[in-house]
Symmetry: C2
Subunit: 97 residues, 2 copies
């Protein structure tokens, strides 16, 4: 009746990250940090988890002399996100059968 909610997405920060990434080509660490209001440490950890799960790709480059971490959602990540949304919606239908 209550299908399991993907624990990787059932986290406020990771959900926010995915929510942002699904709407754009790519986004860097600084952008994600600003938009989510997360601390750098927390963001770093959660990005790593999403990467391990292959929900996102992470590319470390240099912007001039400064390091730059760019993230992109993967097809697998899109699927997982869509499935999470679908699943949690079933929790919201009061008369769930």
């Amino acid at each position: 009746m209550f299908e399991e909610l993907d624990p990787l997405l059932h986290s406020q920060l990771r959900l926010a990250i995915m929510s942002l990434l699904i709407g754009v080509e790519e986004a860097d660490f600084v952008f994600l940090k600003e938009k989510t209001n997360a601390t750098a440490g927390n963001l770093s950890v959660q990005i790593e988890k999403l990467k391990e799960a292959e929900y996102i790709d992470v590319e470390k480059t240099f912007q001039g002399k400064m390091p730059r971490t760019v993230c992109r959602i993967t097809p697998k990540g899109v699927l997982a996100f869509e499935n999470y949304v679908k699943t949690i919606q079933t929790y919201f239908n009061t008369n769930n059968k």
Copy 2:
């Protein structure tokens, strides 16, 4: 941009409990346990948390000689649930401003 998700509701089991309670007059421990597939211990703990937050009322009675724990959602609980749903939905709109 990403409003905080009520941590009390951002838990799979507590969300399931609330989802069930919002649709009925009342529900007892056994019913909730069956519907959610939770272990008794976990259910006991999560019911206690929802009760402390006054999201639900808990009434311990006896059904003949057996104990019976009946739960009901409170108005405060209904509001919190509705707000949680509204809030997480904003995460799902990719182009959230």
